[in-house]
Each structure stands twice: as structure tokens, then as C-alpha cells.
């Protein structure tokens, strides 16, 4: 097992793009090599050791047995865990935008808050956020037909707007509230929102959205029979009929 610990040594407000902070990129490298990995501070191409103090313990066979621990507030560090296939990233505090972009496998655990585009175009693996997450959790890139296709995202707090836009698979669970338009153009993923939201499932054609709190529904969903789940009563809707959709939304309370 190999553990790589990073903590920020700069107080710059200019963001850092560091897609090399990923078990796949770091597993096979010695400390000196890790220090020399490329990162970007705004428009400056620099090395990781110019921004972080880095410690390595243990050995790894591959990314599966590699854990990256981010100490402190990483909310200005973007693209951590991008395209990772295995292993773990643990952020002890916040983590910036695009964490787990195109993630294929492994785990990311964010103990603080996550920035926007968490798990964008994710295909597999698991992301857990103890705090809140920003907009576009599990969404796609602009203009694409597909967002997240697989894997799981669990958010203990609340999430921003456009959660799971163009979702094509996988699941997203938000214990708290969610901003407007969760699950827009959903094509087969599942979303659970413990709290409340506004206009879920716009243009969804498949998949499901469960809202434990209240939601304002679109007029293009048809109301079905009420259902009971784990002792609670939900109103069931089917749609979005503007797209002849057959998605399913369960809402505890409509407003």
C-alpha cells in the first residue's frame, strides 16, 4: 500500500489545475518523480513540488493500492482524480472543480465541500462528499448528449443546480436539497434527493428521480398512482412527455 500526502504550500488565489493528482499517474512513481509532475497555476506550467509539500509512504503494485491524501483546503485545486481507474483519493477538506472528471474506477472521498462539475462524465467508481457539492454534479460537457454513464456519487449535504444533466447511467444520491433542474435530459441514471428541489427531470426519457422533500413539477409529467416506499408515501409521475419520455419521478410532496 502506498500513501501519498499532499498539502498546499501556496496561498495563491489563482486556481491550480492538477489532473496528475491521481492514483493512475502517481502509483508507479518515486517521490522525486511525483514532485516533478506537471501542474498549472493559471497560465504558468510548474511542477507539483512548487505548490505542494509531498510525502510518500509505502509501495504500490499499481493504482489499486495507491491512496492520495489531500491535507487542508484544496478548493482551488481542479481536476483531481481525472480519468482515474482505481485507488483512492481522500480530501480531508474541500476539493475544487472537476474532481473525478471522466473517472472510471476507484474512490474519491471529499470530507469537506466539492466544487462544480464533480464527477463530470464519470463512468465508474465512487465519489463520497461529506459536505455540499456545487453545480453540475455528474453532468456532461457542453453540447454533449451524455453526462455521467456509471458509478456512484453520494453527497451528505446539498448540491447545486443541473445535477445529473444528461445522465446516462449510474446513481447520484444527495441527502440534502438540490438546486433547479436535477436530472435534466436523464437517459437512464437514478437520482435520489433527500431534501427538496425545483423542476426535476426536464426532458428526461428514462431513469428515475426520487425526491424525499418537496418539488415543483413540470406540467409535462403525468401523475400516476401513489406508491409507498420504506413507510413513506410518494406521488409518482411519468415523463417528460415533451420528449415522449418514460422516466419516473417519485415526490414526497408537490408544490
Amino acid at each position: 500500500m502506498k500513501t501519498i500526502r499532499l498539502s498546499l504550500t501556496t496561498e495563491e488565489t489563482v486556481p491550480i489545475e492538477a489532473e496528475r493528482i491521481s492514483p493512475d499517474q502517481m502509483a508507479g512513481l518515486e517521490l522525486d518523480q511525483i514532485k516533478c509532475l506537471e501542474a498549472w497555476l493559471g497560465n504558468r506550467r510548474i511542477t507539483l513540488d512548487a505548490l505542494f509539500s509531498i510525502q510518500v509512504e509505502g509501495e504500490a503494485q499499481g493504482p489499486e493500492s495507491t491512496t492520495i491524501v489531500l491535507e487542508g483546503d484544496f478548493s482551488r485545486v481542479k481536476r483531481v482524480g481525472e480519468r482515474m481507474t482505481a485507488g483512492s483519493v481522500i480530501a480531508k477538506g474541500n476539493l475544487g472543480m472537476h474532481a473525478g472528471n471522466n473517472m472510471i474506477g476507484g474512490d474519491i472521498h471529499i470530507m469537506g465541500d466539492a466544487g462544480d462539475w464533480l464527477g463530470r462524465e464519470m463512468r465508474g467508481g465512487k465519489i463520497v462528499v461529506d459536505g455540499d457539492a456545487g453545480n453540475y454534479v455528474g453532468a456532461g460537457y457542453r453540447g454533449e448528449r451524455c453526462g455521467m454513464r456509471g458509478g456512484d456519487i453520494v453527497i451528505a449535504g446539498s448540491a447545486g443546480a443541473f445535477l445529473g444533466e444528461h445522465l446516462c447511467g449510474g446513481s447520484i444520491r444527495v441527502e440534502g436539497n438540490c438546486g433547479d433542474f436535477p436530472g435534466a435530459a436523464n437517459q437512464g441514471g437514478s437520482i435520489f434527493i433527500g431534501g427538496s428541489t425545483h423542476l426535476p427531470g426536464a426532458e428526461m426519457v428514462k431513469g428515475s428521480i426520487i425526491v424525499g422533500g418537496h418539488a415543483h413539477m413540470l406540467p409535462s409529467f403525468v401523475r400516476m398512482e401513489d406508491v409507498e416506499m420504506e413507510g413513506e408515501r410518494f406521488v409518482k409521475f411519468s415523463g417528460d412527455l415533451v420528449e415522449n419520455g418514460k422516466g419516473e419521478i417519485l415526490v414526497a410532496e408537490t408544490v
Binding site: G42, D180, L218
Partner: protein, 427 residues
Amino acid sequence: MTEDVLCTFCGCLCDDLRVEVADGRVQKVRGACRLGASKIMGHDRIKTPMIREDGVLREATYDQACARAAQILLEAKRPVLYGWASTSCEADRKGILLAEEVGGVMDTTATVCHGPSILGIEEKGLAGATLGQVKNRADLIIFWGCNPAEAHPRHALRYSSNACGRFTPEGRSGRKVMVVDVRETRSAKNADKFLRLIPGTDYEVISAMRMILGGKADVVPETVAGLPKTQLVETVEIMKNARFGVIFFGLGMTHSRGRYKNVDNALSLVAELNAFTKFVVMAMRGHYNVAGIGQVMACASGYPMSVDYSRGAPYFNPGETTICDLLNRKEADAALVIAADPASNFPRSTVEALAEVPVIQIDPFENPTTLLADVVIPSAIAGVEAEGTAYRMDGMCLRLRKLVDSEFPSDEAILQRIIDNVRRLRA
């Protein structure tokens, strides 16, 4: 008298103005609306380049100001270059080159007006037509969340409600005009039908209209966002029965709750209407060349706004690479503002963030942004003192005329001087 002058005020880009020039100055503007005439007549100019020292703007030479601007941009790790909608495409192209050379973020005023429309177009495309098509063919004109009577004063007469064309010889009396808005604007008062929305309900109203159009009215609740279904059914009937219908939409749709999703849904509604009749849709663009900077950027970078060149290749992600987001998160560490006034148009906290970084301003006129600028470079007025290219709200590309000589260099020339300085300093 110079004929067929282009108006450099709004996205209508009227090209039929007559301007009287004498003694090297514009004396009179004929045929323009009040807004356009006043823009072309001009007002107090910034007289000289200035550099802020010890908190005070002091006169400087163009050489000094351009060198200082280059230095600021080169020192910055995340400079943002903003504005571009009220100058020529030629200046815009220089701006893109400068952004490439300094690894900056290139963003435009679209970000605070029709940026959401662009995101909607990325989802759905846009069924459009030139304004002349509307003039010659449209018998149903819908203004949604826009008020041309105040913001685009000649739109109705030249292009839309009141224009006469080949298949619309009766002008206004042969047309139906509808306004959809949250309050009864002047445009609404002039309309045949006014649909009043509760603010922030555009999306659901459009969804209901798509349902009715698709023959699923039975599923739609009896009232949608406070509007009786019967009224929506009647509206959709009018749309279906038009020979040529058009929706012009404005900030009322793009900047109310729902944002780009509202536009996205409206674009689908229009596409679906084409199964029944001819229907097109158009954004009521504000600044006279805001469409142009979008075209120029798309050609050069693949994206029409908010392009981040910090890593050498264009990266586009509105919400991340848009100027307000960059400032709010304190990512930007310098700004070049050209032909725009963010100090007046941005939210207060964003303006405060802007005030904390070095700001370079290029503009013919002083505005509130001047107060927080560190380098001020006065320029010739595009379309009055400098030639160039501009794109009308419908994408028509036209050539701006030069009416009078100017002691000031053009935006294009100033930007080239900054680029030259950047290259010199880097070498």
C-alpha cells in the same frame, strides 16, 4: 452627407443612417433612433492615455500606457480580457491574439446578456432566419422577455411588426403581434395579445405549450404557473396557424430563473412548430457587435465566448471561464476591459473583486470602469472614426464606415501595440 451609415448602438445594426459631417466632426445624425443618434454624436472623450500612480490617474503617452498594459498582462497568471461587443471584429481578432500570447481568458459582454442563449443553442441548435425574412414573410411576431420599443427602437419598423415586405404588404395590419413578459411594457401595450408570466416560470409555460402542440393537452393541468390552460391552448393555436411565425427573445427569458434551460426549451418549441408551419427564433442581441465577437471567437477558437487560453489551447466552460465567475472566485489577477463598462453592469461584489486587480481600460469614453482602472487608453470610435466589421443580431455581416478622422488610434491599433510590447518584453 454620408449615406447608408451603420448605427453602432444596438444589435439592429441599422445601415440606413445619414450623417452630416462638417469641420471634421459629426454635426447631425438623420434616420436614427434617439439612442443611436446620441451614440454617434458622442460625448466627452477620454483625452489622453493615463496610468494610475499612487492612487491617481496621471497623463501618459500611448507608448507608456501600452507598455504598462503589456507588463500587467504578462505578470498576471490569470488575466481576463473582457468586452469586445462594441468594437469591430478586426479589434476582436487582435484581442484573441493577445489573449493567446498572454495566456488569458477571453470573455465578452454576452456573458452578462445572451450567454445563456448560447448554452441553449449548444443543446438544441437554433432555427433562425435573417431579419429580412421576417420583414417579407412573418404574419405572427412574438416578443418574449424583450421590449424592443425601448431597447431596439427601430426594430419594429425596419424588420418586424410594422415592416412591409413582399408577402406582407399590409405591414402591421396584416400581422399579429404577441408579447410574453412579466410586466406590461410599452411593447406589450402595442401588441395584439399579451401573455403575462409570473417571473421565473418561462420554462414550465414553454413545456406546457410543447405538450399542447404535441397533442397532449389533456395531461396539462388546468392552470400552469397561474395561466389558465385555455389561454395557452389559444396561444398555441395562433402559432400553429401562422404562415410564418417568429419568436424574438430577450433577457427576460435568459436571465430569469431557468436561464439557459428556458432558451433550450423555447428552441425545441420552435423546432417542433416547424412540423406545422414555418417558425423561426432569434435572440434580441444588445450591443451592436456582440454577435460579431461571438462569430470571430468561434472561427478562431471553436467557441463563441468565455475561452481560456491559459494552457495554450482553447478551453471553454461557462460557469468556470466566464468573467463574473472568475472574479467572484478571485481567480482573475488582472483585467483588460475594452468597449464595455463592467463597473456599471456587474453585480456589486463582482465589481469589488474587479477593483482589487490591475485593470486596463481601452475606450473612447470615460465610464465608471475608468474609476477603477490602472491604465486608461483612449481609442477612436469604431464605426465613426474607424472602419471595420460588425455582425447584426441575425448574423448579417456588415462593414462599418469611417465618417471622420480621429486623433485617437483605433482599438485594433492599440491592441497591436500592446501585442508588440508583450513580444518585446518577453524577448
